[in-house]
């Protein structure tokens, strides 16, 4: 089996990987579909069972969505993948801005963020100008946005409004742009397989979030920061990190890393991702909303894309820069 996989070309290996993932997802989804017919005798149990199942189905839906997005991105080449991530960043930023109150004077800055900063950042990624792309937002945009706001002649809550916008750009655009940037890293002897690197990152980060979520539901430990997150505690966090990092290390054969290196970068990505998720929870709490989306309930009509990608937005830049620094690529 292993010999057979190694004998395939990189493209075939990636295709085989997607085939395996789609197959697994299909099996799980079918199982869940049939489980939903199952009825419990006790109506109280039945209700909680159905709720649990609905929750799991939502998670499964997220996974399907992510996998399909990556499959399309890989199948259509790097440029299309970059455009795809640019669109995700656009929708995520749209959700972020919708739920952060802006004022009339922010209009020009918002136009700048959506129609100038975002396209330029992803264009820099697509053309592999790594030096400029890492500093464009933290240096140039950091100055440009408050200038646009100041020219709008509205000083009220100036720092607060600009901080929000900067944050939105930093998380949604800067963070997200590092995912397609992984496609352009060239490791010696790893040509044509950088799609694996993106898959590796997403897979590991999602696993850690998922495991952490499941453990915290099972164990019912006291939350560490109940005002921010009712589910976050160090035990489930630790278990999530360990499990996901071990899984990542086991998958080291698809990456250019050795076992120990894969373990180390997985830990870095998982810590960044799960902490980022927690930070976004704090932001949501501040806005008084449980989710960025709250499907069908929220008056904003957001559909919760940011809930799904926030861990990735935090993990991607740290993952990217740490491997770029360590492997000097």
């Amino acid at each position: 089996m292993n010999q057979f996989l190694r004998s395939l070309s990189p493209t075939q290996q990636v295709a085989a990987l997607f085939l395996i993932v789609f197959g697994l997802l299909f099996i799980v989804s079918t199982a869940v579909f049939f489980l939903s017919f199952k009825e419990r005798r006790n109506p109280v149990h039945d209700e909680s069972w159905q709720a649990e199942l609905a929750h799991f189905r939502a998670l499964l839906g997220t996974t399907w969505f992510m996998v399909i997005v990556f499959w399309i991105g890989w199948a259509l080449g790097e440029t299309v993948a970059t455009v795809l991530f640019a669109l995700i960043a656009f929708f995520a930023l749209r959700e972020f801005i919708t739920l952060s109150p802006t004022r009339r004077g922010d209009h020009r800055s918002l136009i700048l963020a959506f129609f100038v900063v975002l396209p330029i950042q992803f264009w820099l990624v697509a053309t592999a100008r790594f030096d400029l792309f890492t500093v464009f937002i933290p240096v140039y945009v950091f100055l440009a946005i408050p200038v646009a706001s100041a020219l709008a002649n509205d000083p009220s809550h100036f720092l607060e409004r600009n901080a929000k916008l900067q944050w939105g750009i930093m998380v949604c655009v800067y963070g997200m742009s590092h995912v397609p940037a992984l496609l352009l890293l060239t490791f010696p002897g790893y040509e044509g397989k950088s799609a694996f690197l993106v898959f590796f990152l997403v897979f590991v980060v999602q696993t850690s979030v998922l495991v952490q979520h499941l453990i915290s539901r099972r164990m019912q430990r006291a939350p560490f920061a109940p005002n921010v997150s009712r589910s976050f505690n160090w035990t489930s966090w630790g278990v999530g990190i360990v499990v996901a990092s071990l899984v990542g290390a086991l998958f080291s054969f698809i990456t250019p890393f050795k076992f120990g290196q894969a373990l180390a970068v997985s830990i870095i990505a998982c810590v960044a991702g799960s902490m980022g998720h927690l930070v976004m929870k704090a932001l949501k709490r501040d806005r008084g909303i449980p989710n960025w989306g709250q499907k069908g309930v929220g008056v904003t009509g957001a559909n919760g894309l940011l809930d799904r990608v926030d861990a990735l937005c935090f993990a991607a830049p740290i993952f990217f820069h740490s491997i770029r620094w360590y492997f000097n690529v």
Partner: protein, 286 residues
């Protein structure tokens, strides 16, 4: 053909920028004759509610557009007639009243930016009692009118102060209605079986709270008792394109449709309008 393509393009842009999500609470999207009445914060309201309706309803629902804003250039006129299938209303009759005391009978006083843009004409000139009660507020700028909503201040001053102010206005307003009833195009549209979308505030609000509803809604409700009145709350549109800006910003918006209301037998005009306004405001928090 071209109109259809433009419609799709416009729909695509609106969805990309705002999501244009429709939330049906209280009534399903159904092809019966309806009057949708919504809060009014921006010119884009018209486009939003048009985009939020499902395809089948969009073709039988006609939004109301102010002629002086939506028909002042050929492109806008083409889009409103061919794509939105809008009903034009004149708002000259009442648009002038708050600005200058002597209301001209002639069309709008050439105000392209129109300080108070109205989409729905009010019946104020037709109703002398209301005009009297309204006069003190109407003298101030629009913003103040909006703020005066809740405390309901008009009653105390009218008996003494307004009559002299109103005297010259009343005769001027009286001969006007026969010349052009502002509701006539809406009545025609309803008679022919179409649904319509109206903004009973008349002018775009500046605060979160909708302003007092104008009485056109009541007139239509009593004239067409069989038409279902559906309240709608359009959320966030003013952030997409505030007054005076031309480039829209992507921000998610939604249109919430609520449970239909109807005018009870013998219900007075003001209580009905207040009830309708409350029905719209209630949708903000569902």
């Amino acid at each position: 053909m071209l109109a259809k393509l433009t419609g799709w393009l416009l729909l695509g842009i609106v969805r990309l920028l705002t999501g244009a999500q429709a939330r049906w609470y209280g009534c399903p999207p159904k092809a019966e004759q309806r009057i949708y009445f919504a809060n009014h914060q921006s010119h884009a309201d018209l486009v939003m509610i048009w985009a939020a309706l499902p395809e089948e309803l969009r073709s039988i629902t006609r939004p109301i557009a102010a002629r002086d804003y939506w028909a002042n250039t050929p492109v806008k006129r083409w889009i409103t007639t061919e794509v939105f299938n809008a009903v034009y209303v004149e708002r000259a009759a009442t648009g002038a009243a708050p600005v200058a005391p002597p209301p001209p009978v002639a069309p709008p006083p050439a105000a392209p930016i129109a300080p108070d843009e109205r989409i729905e004409p009010s019946m104020e000139p037709l109703l002398p009692i209301e005009t009297v009660a309204h006069a003190p507020a109407a003298e101030g700028p629009q913003e103040i009118q909006g703020q005066l909503d809740l405390p309901a201040p008009p009653p105390p001053p009218p008996p003494v102060a307004p009559p002299p102010v109103i005297e010259p206005e009343a005769p001027a307003a009286a001969p006007e209605p026969p010349a052009a009833d502002p509701l006539a195009p809406l009545i025609d549209a309803l008679r022919s079986g179409d649904s319509i979308i109206i903004f009973p505030e008349g002018t775009r609000g500046h605060t979160g709270e909708p302003q007092k509803f104008k009485s056109g809604l009541y007139a239509l409700a009593t004239m067409f008792p069989d038409v279902v009145l559906v309240p709608a709350w359009i959320d966030n549109v003013q952030r997409v394109m505030p007054k005076g800006e031309i480039v829209p910003v992507p921000i998610l918006c939604s249109v919430t449709f609520g449970a239909p209301i109807r005018a009870e037998d013998g219900e007075e005009r003001r209580p009905f309008l207040d009830r309708a306004r409350a029905a719209v405001i209630a949708l903000r928090d569902v």
